[in-house]
Amino acid sequence: MVSMFVTAFIVGGLICVIGQLLFDVAKLTPAHTLCTLVVAGSILDGLGLYEPLIDFAGAGATVPITSFGNSLTHGAMAEAEKHGFIGVLTGMFEVTSSGISAAILFGFIAAIIFKSKGKV
Protein backbone atom coordinates (compact mmCIF):
# COMPACT_ATOMS: atom_id res chain seq x y z
CA MET A 1 0.00 0.00 0.00
CA VAL A 2 2.68 2.50 1.06
CA SER A 3 5.03 1.37 -1.71
CA MET A 4 2.25 2.18 -4.23
CA PHE A 5 2.16 5.79 -3.05
CA VAL A 6 5.94 6.00 -3.17
CA THR A 7 6.08 4.65 -6.74
CA ALA A 8 3.33 7.04 -7.87
CA PHE A 9 5.12 9.95 -6.21
CA ILE A 10 8.50 9.17 -7.75
CA VAL A 11 7.28 8.41 -11.28
CA GLY A 12 4.94 11.44 -11.31
CA GLY A 13 7.76 13.55 -9.93
CA LEU A 14 10.18 12.34 -12.59
CA ILE A 15 7.76 13.26 -15.38
CA CYS A 16 7.53 16.74 -13.83
CA VAL A 17 11.33 16.92 -13.60
CA ILE A 18 11.48 16.26 -17.35
CA GLY A 19 8.98 19.09 -17.86
CA GLN A 20 11.01 21.45 -15.66
CA LEU A 21 14.21 20.56 -17.56
CA LEU A 22 12.50 21.21 -20.91
CA PHE A 23 11.50 24.57 -19.45
CA ASP A 24 14.73 25.64 -17.74
CA VAL A 25 17.48 23.86 -19.69
CA ALA A 26 16.02 23.42 -23.18
CA LYS A 27 14.42 26.90 -22.76
CA LEU A 28 11.11 25.79 -24.26
CA THR A 29 8.12 28.05 -23.69
CA PRO A 30 5.39 26.79 -21.31
CA ALA A 31 3.19 25.94 -24.31
CA HIS A 32 5.97 24.02 -26.07
CA THR A 33 6.78 22.14 -22.87
CA LEU A 34 3.13 21.15 -22.50
CA CYS A 35 2.81 19.99 -26.10
CA THR A 36 6.07 18.06 -25.97
CA LEU A 37 4.86 16.09 -22.95
CA VAL A 38 1.47 15.40 -24.55
CA VAL A 39 3.10 14.19 -27.77
CA ALA A 40 5.57 12.08 -25.79
CA GLY A 41 2.70 10.38 -23.93
CA SER A 42 0.92 9.79 -27.21
CA ILE A 43 3.94 8.22 -28.87
CA LEU A 44 4.72 6.07 -25.82
CA ASP A 45 1.19 4.67 -25.92
CA GLY A 46 1.49 4.00 -29.65
CA LEU A 47 4.54 1.91 -28.84
CA GLY A 48 2.58 0.16 -26.12
CA LEU A 49 4.75 1.54 -23.34
CA TYR A 50 2.42 3.89 -21.44
CA GLU A 51 -0.08 1.28 -20.18
CA PRO A 52 2.68 -0.71 -18.43
CA LEU A 53 3.82 2.58 -16.84
CA ILE A 54 0.28 3.19 -15.53
CA ASP A 55 0.15 -0.37 -14.19
CA PHE A 56 3.42 0.29 -12.42
CA ALA A 57 2.90 3.84 -11.13
CA GLY A 58 -0.87 4.38 -11.07
CA ALA A 59 -1.73 8.04 -10.56
CA GLY A 60 1.96 8.88 -10.95
CA ALA A 61 1.44 8.22 -14.66
CA THR A 62 -2.22 9.18 -15.10
CA VAL A 63 -2.15 12.63 -13.45
CA PRO A 64 0.68 14.33 -15.46
CA ILE A 65 -0.23 15.76 -18.86
CA THR A 66 1.57 12.88 -20.66
CA SER A 67 -1.50 10.86 -19.74
CA PHE A 68 -3.59 13.10 -21.98
CA GLY A 69 -1.45 12.11 -24.97
CA ASN A 70 -1.79 8.50 -23.92
CA SER A 71 -5.60 8.84 -23.85
CA LEU A 72 -5.67 10.45 -27.29
CA THR A 73 -3.79 7.55 -28.86
CA HIS A 74 -5.65 4.99 -26.80
CA GLY A 75 -9.07 6.15 -27.93
CA ALA A 76 -7.94 6.50 -31.54
CA MET A 77 -6.50 2.98 -31.66
CA ALA A 78 -9.51 1.38 -29.99
CA GLU A 79 -11.96 3.01 -32.41
CA ALA A 80 -9.70 2.27 -35.36
CA GLU A 81 -9.94 -1.41 -34.58
CA LYS A 82 -13.73 -1.21 -34.65
CA HIS A 83 -14.36 1.25 -37.49
CA GLY A 84 -11.15 1.36 -39.49
CA PHE A 85 -9.40 4.59 -40.45
CA ILE A 86 -12.36 6.89 -39.64
CA GLY A 87 -12.15 5.55 -36.10
CA VAL A 88 -8.84 7.35 -35.66
CA LEU A 89 -10.68 10.63 -36.06
CA THR A 90 -13.73 9.75 -33.97
CA GLY A 91 -11.79 7.90 -31.31
CA MET A 92 -9.23 10.53 -30.51
CA PHE A 93 -11.58 12.41 -28.20
CA GLU A 94 -13.48 9.33 -27.01
CA VAL A 95 -11.52 8.90 -23.78
CA THR A 96 -10.38 12.52 -23.46
CA SER A 97 -13.80 14.13 -23.94
CA SER A 98 -14.58 14.16 -20.22
CA GLY A 99 -11.30 15.95 -19.48
CA ILE A 100 -11.79 18.47 -22.27
CA SER A 101 -15.40 19.18 -21.31
CA ALA A 102 -14.46 19.54 -17.65
CA ALA A 103 -11.63 21.95 -18.54
CA ILE A 104 -14.00 24.11 -20.58
CA LEU A 105 -16.77 24.04 -17.98
CA PHE A 106 -14.63 24.72 -14.92
CA GLY A 107 -12.54 27.28 -16.79
CA PHE A 108 -15.75 29.08 -17.74
CA ILE A 109 -17.08 29.01 -14.17
CA ALA A 110 -13.78 30.27 -12.75
CA ALA A 111 -13.66 33.06 -15.34
CA ILE A 112 -17.14 34.20 -14.31
CA ILE A 113 -16.42 34.21 -10.59
CA PHE A 114 -12.85 35.46 -10.38
CA LYS A 115 -10.86 38.36 -11.74
CA SER A 116 -7.23 37.83 -12.71
CA LYS A 117 -4.62 39.39 -10.47
CA GLY A 118 -0.94 40.09 -10.91
CA LYS A 119 -0.07 39.50 -7.25
CA VAL A 120 3.21 37.79 -6.47
Binding site: D24, K27, P30, S116, K117, G118, V120
Partner: protein, 332 residues
Protein backbone atom coordinates in the same frame (compact mmCIF):
# COMPACT_ATOMS: atom_id res chain seq x y z
CA UNK B 1 27.45 67.38 -37.29
CA UNK B 2 25.55 66.92 -34.06
CA UNK B 3 25.32 63.14 -34.25
CA UNK B 4 22.35 62.96 -31.92
CA UNK B 5 23.92 65.22 -29.30
CA UNK B 6 21.74 68.01 -27.97
CA UNK B 7 22.56 71.01 -25.79
CA UNK B 8 19.81 73.20 -24.38
CA UNK B 9 21.19 76.70 -23.90
CA UNK B 10 17.88 78.03 -22.58
CA UNK B 11 17.86 75.36 -19.84
CA UNK B 12 14.20 74.27 -19.92
CA UNK B 13 13.01 73.23 -16.48
CA UNK B 14 11.02 70.41 -15.01
CA UNK B 15 8.54 72.60 -13.14
CA UNK B 16 6.59 69.78 -11.53
CA UNK B 17 6.01 66.05 -11.67
CA UNK B 18 2.99 63.81 -11.18
CA UNK B 19 3.36 60.15 -10.26
CA UNK B 20 0.66 57.50 -9.81
CA UNK B 21 1.05 53.79 -9.06
CA UNK B 22 -0.79 50.55 -8.44
CA UNK B 23 -1.19 48.31 -5.39
CA UNK B 24 2.02 46.22 -5.51
CA UNK B 25 4.03 49.37 -6.11
CA UNK B 26 3.15 50.56 -2.61
CA UNK B 27 5.94 48.34 -1.30
CA UNK B 28 8.47 50.22 -3.42
CA UNK B 29 11.03 52.23 -1.42
CA UNK B 30 9.92 55.19 -3.57
CA UNK B 31 6.23 54.79 -2.64
CA UNK B 32 6.24 57.59 -0.02
CA UNK B 33 6.97 60.00 -2.88
CA UNK B 34 4.16 58.78 -5.16
CA UNK B 35 1.40 61.36 -5.49
CA UNK B 36 -1.43 58.88 -5.74
CA UNK B 37 -1.66 55.11 -5.34
CA UNK B 38 -4.49 52.71 -6.15
CA UNK B 39 -5.37 49.64 -4.13
CA UNK B 40 -6.87 48.12 -7.25
CA UNK B 41 -4.78 46.96 -10.22
CA UNK B 42 -7.31 48.40 -12.64
CA UNK B 43 -7.61 51.70 -10.74
CA UNK B 44 -11.15 50.64 -9.82
CA UNK B 45 -12.24 50.42 -13.46
CA UNK B 46 -13.49 47.52 -15.56
CA UNK B 47 -10.43 46.62 -17.63
CA UNK B 48 -6.67 46.73 -17.22
CA UNK B 49 -6.39 49.18 -20.11
CA UNK B 50 -9.01 51.55 -18.67
CA UNK B 51 -7.15 51.44 -15.35
CA UNK B 52 -3.90 52.09 -17.24
CA UNK B 53 -5.36 55.20 -18.91
CA UNK B 54 -6.61 56.48 -15.55
CA UNK B 55 -3.10 56.20 -14.08
CA UNK B 56 -1.79 58.38 -16.90
CA UNK B 57 -4.57 60.94 -16.77
CA UNK B 58 -4.31 61.32 -13.00
CA UNK B 59 -0.53 61.74 -13.22
CA UNK B 60 -1.04 64.48 -15.83
CA UNK B 61 -3.64 66.28 -13.72
CA UNK B 62 -1.48 66.06 -10.58
CA UNK B 63 1.55 67.51 -12.41
CA UNK B 64 -0.65 70.32 -13.74
CA UNK B 65 -2.16 71.08 -10.34
CA UNK B 66 1.34 71.63 -8.97
CA UNK B 67 1.95 74.40 -11.50
CA UNK B 68 -1.57 75.81 -11.03
CA UNK B 69 -2.52 74.98 -14.58
CA UNK B 70 -5.40 73.38 -16.42
CA UNK B 71 -5.17 71.15 -19.50
CA UNK B 72 -6.19 74.20 -21.57
CA UNK B 73 -2.95 75.96 -20.54
CA UNK B 74 -0.73 73.19 -21.91
CA UNK B 75 0.86 73.51 -25.34
CA UNK B 76 1.83 69.89 -25.98
CA UNK B 77 1.14 66.49 -24.52
CA UNK B 78 3.91 63.94 -25.16
CA UNK B 79 3.06 60.51 -23.85
CA UNK B 80 3.96 56.91 -24.47
CA UNK B 81 3.17 53.48 -23.08
CA UNK B 82 3.65 49.86 -24.11
CA UNK B 83 0.15 48.76 -25.06
CA UNK B 84 -0.39 48.13 -28.79
CA UNK B 85 -0.90 51.46 -30.56
CA UNK B 86 -0.57 53.12 -27.09
CA UNK B 87 -4.31 53.29 -26.49
CA UNK B 88 -4.02 54.26 -22.78
CA UNK B 89 -2.06 57.39 -23.76
CA UNK B 90 -4.42 58.02 -26.67
CA UNK B 91 -7.52 57.85 -24.46
CA UNK B 92 -5.84 60.15 -21.94
CA UNK B 93 -5.10 62.62 -24.73
CA UNK B 94 -8.73 62.44 -25.84
CA UNK B 95 -9.92 63.37 -22.36
CA UNK B 96 -7.37 66.13 -21.78
CA UNK B 97 -7.81 67.70 -25.24
CA UNK B 98 -4.20 68.88 -25.30
CA UNK B 99 -2.40 68.79 -28.70
CA UNK B 100 -0.80 65.38 -28.53
CA UNK B 101 2.16 63.50 -29.94
CA UNK B 102 2.27 59.83 -29.01
CA UNK B 103 5.86 58.67 -28.65
CA UNK B 104 7.06 55.11 -28.67
CA UNK B 105 10.52 54.20 -27.44
CA UNK B 106 9.32 51.34 -25.23
CA UNK B 107 10.70 51.87 -21.71
CA UNK B 108 12.98 54.67 -22.95
CA UNK B 109 9.93 56.88 -23.52
CA UNK B 110 10.41 58.55 -20.14
CA UNK B 111 13.54 60.21 -21.51
CA UNK B 112 12.58 60.49 -25.20
CA UNK B 113 9.44 62.45 -24.23
CA UNK B 114 11.49 64.72 -21.95
CA UNK B 115 13.94 65.35 -24.79
CA UNK B 116 11.11 66.26 -27.16
CA UNK B 117 9.58 68.55 -24.53
CA UNK B 118 12.94 70.24 -24.02
CA UNK B 119 13.34 70.73 -27.79
CA UNK B 120 9.90 72.33 -28.14
CA UNK B 121 10.66 74.59 -25.17
CA UNK B 122 14.15 75.45 -26.44
CA UNK B 123 12.63 76.40 -29.77
CA UNK B 124 10.37 78.88 -27.98
CA UNK B 125 7.27 77.03 -29.09
CA UNK B 126 6.12 75.82 -25.71
CA UNK B 127 5.41 77.47 -22.39
CA UNK B 128 4.23 74.24 -20.81
CA UNK B 129 4.52 70.69 -22.14
CA UNK B 130 3.52 67.53 -20.35
CA UNK B 131 5.88 64.61 -20.98
CA UNK B 132 5.59 61.16 -19.52
CA UNK B 133 5.54 57.40 -19.78
CA UNK B 134 3.55 54.65 -18.14
CA UNK B 135 2.90 50.93 -17.91
CA UNK B 136 0.42 48.56 -16.30
CA UNK B 137 1.44 45.09 -15.20
CA UNK B 138 -1.46 42.91 -16.35
CA UNK B 139 -1.91 44.43 -19.79
CA UNK B 140 1.81 44.40 -20.63
CA UNK B 141 2.54 40.94 -19.27
CA UNK B 142 -0.35 39.65 -21.38
CA UNK B 143 0.92 41.39 -24.48
CA UNK B 144 4.63 40.62 -24.28
CA UNK B 145 4.88 37.53 -22.08
CA UNK B 146 1.90 35.53 -20.82
CA UNK B 147 -1.49 36.50 -19.43
CA UNK B 148 -1.26 36.63 -15.63
CA UNK B 149 -4.09 34.05 -15.44
CA UNK B 150 -1.77 31.57 -17.15
CA UNK B 151 0.36 31.46 -14.01
CA UNK B 152 3.51 30.82 -16.01
CA UNK B 153 6.84 30.33 -14.24
CA UNK B 154 9.42 33.02 -14.86
CA UNK B 155 13.19 32.62 -14.82
CA UNK B 156 15.34 34.76 -12.49
CA UNK B 157 16.36 36.96 -15.42
CA UNK B 158 12.76 38.01 -16.10
CA UNK B 159 11.52 41.42 -15.05
CA UNK B 160 8.28 42.59 -13.51
CA UNK B 161 6.31 45.26 -15.37
CA UNK B 162 5.36 48.03 -12.96
CA UNK B 163 1.91 49.56 -12.74
CA UNK B 164 2.78 53.24 -12.64
CA UNK B 165 2.78 56.50 -14.55
CA UNK B 166 5.20 59.40 -14.31
CA UNK B 167 4.60 62.76 -15.96
CA UNK B 168 6.67 65.95 -15.91
CA UNK B 169 5.59 69.50 -16.69
CA UNK B 170 8.37 71.07 -18.76
CA UNK B 171 8.54 74.86 -18.91
CA UNK B 172 11.08 77.52 -19.87
CA UNK B 173 13.80 77.93 -17.25
CA UNK B 174 12.43 78.26 -13.76
CA UNK B 175 14.86 79.08 -10.96
CA UNK B 176 14.96 76.49 -8.21
CA UNK B 177 13.92 73.59 -10.42
CA UNK B 178 16.01 70.99 -12.26
CA UNK B 179 17.03 72.22 -15.72
CA UNK B 180 17.43 70.04 -18.79
CA UNK B 181 20.88 70.94 -20.12
CA UNK B 182 22.05 68.15 -22.42
CA UNK B 183 20.75 65.05 -24.10
CA UNK B 184 21.87 62.27 -26.38
CA UNK B 185 19.52 60.49 -28.75
CA UNK B 186 20.26 56.79 -28.74
CA UNK B 187 21.16 54.50 -31.60
CA UNK B 188 19.41 51.17 -31.97
CA UNK B 189 21.75 48.43 -30.81
CA UNK B 190 20.95 44.83 -31.66
CA UNK B 191 23.45 42.23 -30.60
CA UNK B 192 21.19 39.36 -31.54
CA UNK B 193 19.49 38.63 -28.22
CA UNK B 194 16.16 36.83 -28.70
CA UNK B 195 15.01 36.08 -25.15
CA UNK B 196 12.13 38.33 -23.98
CA UNK B 197 12.49 36.93 -20.46
CA UNK B 198 15.96 38.47 -20.31
CA UNK B 199 15.42 41.96 -21.71
CA UNK B 200 17.89 43.57 -19.31
CA UNK B 201 20.75 41.76 -20.99
CA UNK B 202 19.46 42.77 -24.42
CA UNK B 203 19.26 46.45 -23.41
CA UNK B 204 22.59 46.70 -21.55
CA UNK B 205 24.74 47.25 -24.67
CA UNK B 206 22.45 50.08 -25.81
CA UNK B 207 22.83 51.78 -22.42
CA UNK B 208 26.61 51.43 -22.52
CA UNK B 209 26.70 52.80 -26.08
CA UNK B 210 24.62 55.87 -25.24
CA UNK B 211 26.61 56.55 -22.05
CA UNK B 212 29.87 56.45 -24.02
CA UNK B 213 28.48 58.70 -26.76
CA UNK B 214 27.13 61.17 -24.22
CA UNK B 215 30.42 61.41 -22.34
CA UNK B 216 32.55 61.62 -25.50
CA UNK B 217 30.20 63.94 -27.36
CA UNK B 218 29.61 66.40 -24.54
CA UNK B 219 33.14 66.17 -23.15
CA UNK B 220 32.07 65.09 -19.68
CA UNK B 221 33.25 62.26 -17.46
CA UNK B 222 31.34 60.03 -15.08
CA UNK B 223 32.73 61.78 -12.01
CA UNK B 224 30.95 64.98 -13.14
CA UNK B 225 27.63 63.42 -12.15
CA UNK B 226 26.19 62.81 -8.71
CA UNK B 227 24.34 59.88 -10.17
CA UNK B 228 24.10 58.12 -13.50
CA UNK B 229 20.83 56.25 -13.48
CA UNK B 230 19.69 53.72 -16.05
CA UNK B 231 16.01 52.99 -16.55
CA UNK B 232 15.08 49.36 -16.19
CA UNK B 233 18.04 47.10 -16.82
CA UNK B 234 17.29 45.25 -13.54
CA UNK B 235 19.79 42.95 -11.84
CA UNK B 236 20.96 40.86 -14.80
CA UNK B 237 21.15 43.73 -17.26
CA UNK B 238 22.66 46.19 -14.79
CA UNK B 239 25.56 43.84 -13.99
CA UNK B 240 26.19 43.32 -17.69
CA UNK B 241 26.03 47.07 -18.36
CA UNK B 242 28.48 47.83 -15.57
CA UNK B 243 30.82 45.18 -16.94
CA UNK B 244 30.69 46.82 -20.37
CA UNK B 245 31.32 50.27 -18.88
CA UNK B 246 34.21 48.97 -16.76
CA UNK B 247 35.73 47.37 -19.86
CA UNK B 248 35.82 50.87 -21.33
CA UNK B 249 37.98 51.86 -18.36
CA UNK B 250 35.44 53.62 -16.14
CA UNK B 251 34.62 53.12 -12.48
CA UNK B 252 31.00 52.15 -11.86
CA UNK B 253 31.16 51.64 -8.11
CA UNK B 254 30.22 55.07 -6.80
CA UNK B 255 27.46 56.80 -8.72
CA UNK B 256 25.74 54.16 -10.86
CA UNK B 257 22.12 53.33 -10.09
CA UNK B 258 19.36 51.51 -11.94
CA UNK B 259 15.67 52.21 -11.42
CA UNK B 260 14.71 48.61 -12.28
CA UNK B 261 17.05 47.19 -9.64
CA UNK B 262 15.76 49.53 -6.93
CA UNK B 263 12.06 49.81 -7.70
CA UNK B 264 10.80 46.84 -5.70
CA UNK B 265 13.59 46.88 -3.13
CA UNK B 266 15.47 43.59 -3.15
CA UNK B 267 12.43 41.32 -3.28
CA UNK B 268 13.23 38.14 -5.24
CA UNK B 269 9.51 37.64 -5.90
CA UNK B 270 10.02 40.24 -8.62
CA UNK B 271 12.79 38.18 -10.28
CA UNK B 272 15.52 40.45 -11.67
CA UNK B 273 13.59 43.61 -10.80
CA UNK B 274 11.22 46.08 -12.37
CA UNK B 275 10.61 47.01 -15.98
CA UNK B 276 8.07 48.96 -17.96
CA UNK B 277 7.87 52.51 -19.21
CA UNK B 278 6.42 53.51 -15.84
CA UNK B 279 9.49 52.25 -13.97
CA UNK B 280 12.09 54.79 -15.04
CA UNK B 281 9.61 57.67 -15.28
CA UNK B 282 8.35 57.23 -11.71
CA UNK B 283 11.80 56.82 -10.17
CA UNK B 284 13.18 59.78 -12.14
CA UNK B 285 10.19 61.94 -11.20
CA UNK B 286 10.16 61.00 -7.51
CA UNK B 287 13.55 60.07 -6.09
CA UNK B 288 15.81 61.89 -8.56
CA UNK B 289 13.55 64.94 -8.85
CA UNK B 290 13.10 65.38 -5.11
CA UNK B 291 16.80 64.86 -4.38
CA UNK B 292 17.59 67.57 -6.92
CA UNK B 293 15.00 69.90 -5.39
CA UNK B 294 16.52 69.28 -1.94
CA UNK B 295 20.01 69.96 -3.28
CA UNK B 296 21.40 66.47 -2.69
CA UNK B 297 21.99 65.97 -6.42
CA UNK B 298 23.37 68.85 -8.47
CA UNK B 299 23.92 67.09 -11.77
CA UNK B 300 22.45 63.78 -12.91
CA UNK B 301 22.51 61.71 -16.08
CA UNK B 302 19.40 59.66 -16.78
CA UNK B 303 19.69 56.88 -19.37
CA UNK B 304 16.38 55.17 -20.09
CA UNK B 305 16.54 51.92 -22.02
CA UNK B 306 13.91 50.39 -24.27
CA UNK B 307 13.50 46.98 -25.91
CA UNK B 308 11.89 47.68 -29.27
CA UNK B 309 10.39 44.27 -29.90
CA UNK B 310 6.81 43.39 -30.69
CA UNK B 311 5.04 40.13 -29.82
CA UNK B 312 4.95 39.37 -33.55
CA UNK B 313 8.65 40.05 -34.13
CA UNK B 314 9.44 37.69 -31.25
CA UNK B 315 7.18 34.96 -32.64
CA UNK B 316 8.90 35.33 -36.00
CA UNK B 317 12.15 34.68 -34.12
CA UNK B 318 13.55 38.14 -34.76
CA UNK B 319 16.17 39.56 -32.43
CA UNK B 320 15.39 42.33 -29.93
CA UNK B 321 16.51 45.78 -31.14
CA UNK B 322 17.24 48.04 -28.17
CA UNK B 323 17.68 51.75 -27.60
CA UNK B 324 18.81 54.06 -24.82
CA UNK B 325 18.25 57.80 -24.64
CA UNK B 326 20.16 60.01 -22.22
CA UNK B 327 19.22 63.32 -20.65
CA UNK B 328 21.21 65.46 -18.28
CA UNK B 329 19.57 67.47 -15.49
CA UNK B 330 21.32 70.24 -13.59
CA UNK B 331 20.47 72.26 -10.51
CA UNK B 332 21.99 75.67 -10.19
Amino acid sequence: MKKGLLTFASRPSIAATGVTAGPLEQQSPFAPLFDKVYDDERSGLLTNEKGHAKLVEDACMIALSKVDSKPGDVDFLLLGDLVNQMTPSNFTAANLEIPYLGLFAACATSVSSLIMAALLTEAGMSQCTLAGASSQHNSIERQFRYPVEYGSQKPDTAQWTVTAAGVAAVTPNKAGNPAITKATIGRVVDLGMTEPLNMGAAMAPAAADTLQRHLDGHGTKITDYDVIMTGDLAKTGFELYKTLVEKAGMDTTTNFRDAGVEFYGNDSNFQAGASGAGCSSTVYFTDIYSKMMEGEYKRVLLIATGALLSPLSYQQKETIPCIAHAIELTMK
